[in-house]
């Protein structure tokens, strides 16, 4: 086996000097067009050893947020309705960030938002409660789209078995559902919370409040049957006769023409409001009845990030296996950038929790996608990139880690 990345990521692992993330962190891609095998690009780390997410966070403190707030008010004025209609859609999971977004738009900016939720694979108890509380406590109207469970678990299964990426169908749904419902309900504004670039997509992605529409729309001549999950097209799934094309209606993105004809705009609130995930947690706790998880999630110390879906710990376990970056790394990097913890603390937390086996909902996951434990372990081992992993005394260990480098 050659000693290189299975995912086209850099062969030399480099860690950011300010946080705990490495250059193996892949940037977002348009996953529904992926057949697998394409090279991923990792977060860039500049000549001073600083990653794009940390660079952006430094810039955040120089932004004139008062000015941005004025810009937002001016922008919203164009969309605000006073006839009882909804004037914007907030794609929401019931998590802290989207609950903050929906609630603050309603209360502070006097908008009339409709929260639209693409259901998780398997709700956690607290996730479902938080989702309901956004309406019950927070007073925000919401609708829930729950895709065909048989189809969705099948898509999750092939995404796991083909790409080691069980979260792909969910991410797809979450990305397309806001604009799709905007079109259906004739609400021309979709407002997301933070830009993913906060966490390390290209720096320039943070320079605009508009969302890159390649994630939720397709060219007008694009054949929907070419949409892929785990690299497998809808066409070839249909050919197996278990599902038909009609089953996929919630998964089909808008065409670019539909977006422009209905003048749908997609923006990030994080461009206008200084984004601080922990402050979103406080805000949501105080205003929308949000509660943290009843215990820390597997693989991390945190109780407040991404707690809605039982699959999330499995998802981060796969990122740990594929990229050497587990859930504690993501959480710690974010909290270091937002000055909640020091880098030293972050390194300690990564050492303690990253890559912890996702035991809590493991059986639920196996049942959900109908595979055996042996199949799971076999797949996991296939996903280990040889430039990251070695086997010592029958145990897999990471060749490079931030705690080995720094202690």
């Amino acid at each position: 086996m050659k000693n290189s990345s299975l995912y086209g990521l850099p062969e030399n692992v480099i860690f950011c000097k300010l946080c705990v993330i490495s250059n193996q962190r892949p940037s977002s891609t348009v996953e529904f067009k992926s057949s697998g095998g394409e090279s991923k690009s990792g977060i860039s780390i500049n000549d001073n050893g600083i990653c794009d997410a940390c660079s952006y966070n430094k810039k955040k403190s120089e932004i004139n947020w008062k000015e941005r707030e004025k810009q937002l008010l001016k922008f919203l004025e164009k969309y605000r309705k006073n006839n009882g209609d909804y004037d914007c859609i907030v794609p929401s999971s019931g998590g802290k960030d989207s609950s903050f977004t929906a609630h603050i738009l309603k209360k502070k900016y006097n908008m009339n938002p409709l929260a639209v939720t693409w259901a998780p694979n398997m709700w956690t108890e607290e996730g479902f409660e938080n989702f309901n509380n956004l309406s019950r406590v927070g007073g925000v109207d919401s609708i829930l789209i729950t895709p065909n469970g048989r189809l969705h678990s099948y898509l999750t299964k092939i995404s796991f078995l083909n790409f080691g990426h069980p979260f792909q169908p969910f991410i797809h749904g979450q990305k397309i559902i806001g604009p799709k419902m905007a079109k259906k309900l004739n609400i021309p504004l979709v407002i997301y919370g933070e830009n993913q670039a906060e966490y390390g997509n290209k720096l320039e992605d943070n320079l605009s409040h508009y969302m890159n529409n390649q994630f939720f729309s397709v060219e007008d001549d694009f054949n929907f049957k070419d949409i892929k999950f785990g690299g497998k097209s809808i066409q070839s799934i249909i050919e197996e006769k278990k599902f038909n094309f009609k089953n996929f209606s919630t998964y089909l993105p808008l065409q670019k023409k539909e977006v422009s004809d209905s003048k749908i705009q997609m923006i990030f609130l994080g461009y206008f409001e200084k984004w601080d995930p922990q402050e979103c947690f406080y805000y949501a706790s105080e205003n929308t009845g949000f509660r943290p998880a009843k215990e820390r999630s597997d693989g991390t110390y945190s109780k407040y990030t991404e707690i809605d879906d039982k699959i999330v710990p499995i998802h981060f376990y796969t990122t740990f296996i594929k990229f050497g970056i587990g859930r504690a790394s993501y959480d710690a990097a974010q909290e270091i950038r937002n000055h909640k913890i020091t880098r030293d603390e972050g390194i300690n937390l990564v050492k303690k929790f990253d890559g912890e086996f996702p035991k809590t909902y493991f059986k639920d996951f196996l049942d959900y996608i109908e595979i055996s434990e042996e199949q799971f372990i076999k797949k996991i081992d296939e996903l280990r990139s040889p430039h990251l992993w070695e086997k010592i005394k029958n145990e897999w260990v990471l060749k490079e880690s931030i705690y080995k480098k720094n202690f």
Binding site: F281, S285, E295, K303, Y304, E345
Partner: protein, 244 residues
């Protein structure tokens, strides 16, 4: 009823979360300690909220400087794993120590410390999370990890070691200012005869009355309402005196 001000500390700062989550900075430990002392707090609790997480204890320097000009009992909680940790804190001016996480690994630690420092100096600390209408589970690592141990059972198991007091914190009520978890204290008060400190949930004076109606607790511990200047300790003490 004693009124205790509680300082959750991470590194150099007092922080305050909600349901034991979040690290919002409130101020400097010794500045706030002095303030609450001057307002008439009966005692202080210094709690290192990341001690178990990082396997360290950071509080002795704060306790040492506080002990010079604060003349009320100081209890230290968080990260006390062995006799050495205890000794360092006691030497630097702690009056009492509260132990939780380590007891789940080594339930002798309580007995050992009680033998050395006396019952009055060693508190049993429990972080309780409600799991059904009538039961609570004990948590460790500042409310992050479950133990599968029922709080009532744990109390019955540990109290005979002769702990001087029980610091009983409700994870569900923490940081919300919606009142104490009255049922928790009602239940536990009935089964122990050592003083109980109720911690978590205080937001306004009426919450004390609601608590006292059902549970004979010996002290209340308050943090958020004080840090956010919603109330001062003098007002709380007057209220308690009037309603006694």
């Amino acid at each position: 009823m004693r009124v205790i001000a509680r300082l959750d500390i991470k590194n150099e700062d007092v922080i305050k979360g909600i349901n034991f989550e979040g690290l919002r900075v409130m101020g400097k430990p010794n500045y706030l300690a002095k303030k609450y002392y001057n307002e008439g707090a009966d005692e202080l609790i210094y709690s290192d909220c990341v001690a178990s997480l990082y396997g360290r204890n950071n509080l002795s320097k704060f306790v040492e400087s506080a002990a010079k000009d604060i003349f009320i009992p100081i209890t230290v909680a968080g990260g006390i794993r062995n006799k050495k940790d205890a000794e360092l804190l006691m030497k630097n001016g702690a009056d009492k120590l509260a132990i939780n996480t380590e007891l789940f690994k080594n339930d002798n630690l309580g007995k050992e410390l009680i033998k050395k420092y006396g019952s009055q100096s060693i508190l049993l600390s429990i972080q309780a999370k409600k799991i059904s209408r009538d039961s609570w589970e004990a948590y460790i690592n500042f409310g992050r990890d479950r133990t599968n141990m029922d709080v009532e059972e744990w109390v019955k198991k540990m109290v005979p070691s002769n702990f001087g007091e029980l610091l009983l914190t409700s994870i569900d009520a923490d940081g919300l200012s919606n009142g104490f978890d009255v049922e928790l204290y009602e239940k536990i008060c009935k089964i122990v005869n050592i003083p109980i400190i109720a911690c978590g949930g205080f937001g306004k004076l009426i919450h004390i009355k609601e608590l006292k109606k059902f549970a004979d607790v010996d002290a209340i511990s308050i943090s958020k309402a004080l840090h956010y200047n919603k109330i001062n300790i003098g007002e709380i003490k007057n209220y308690i005196k009037k309603n006694d």
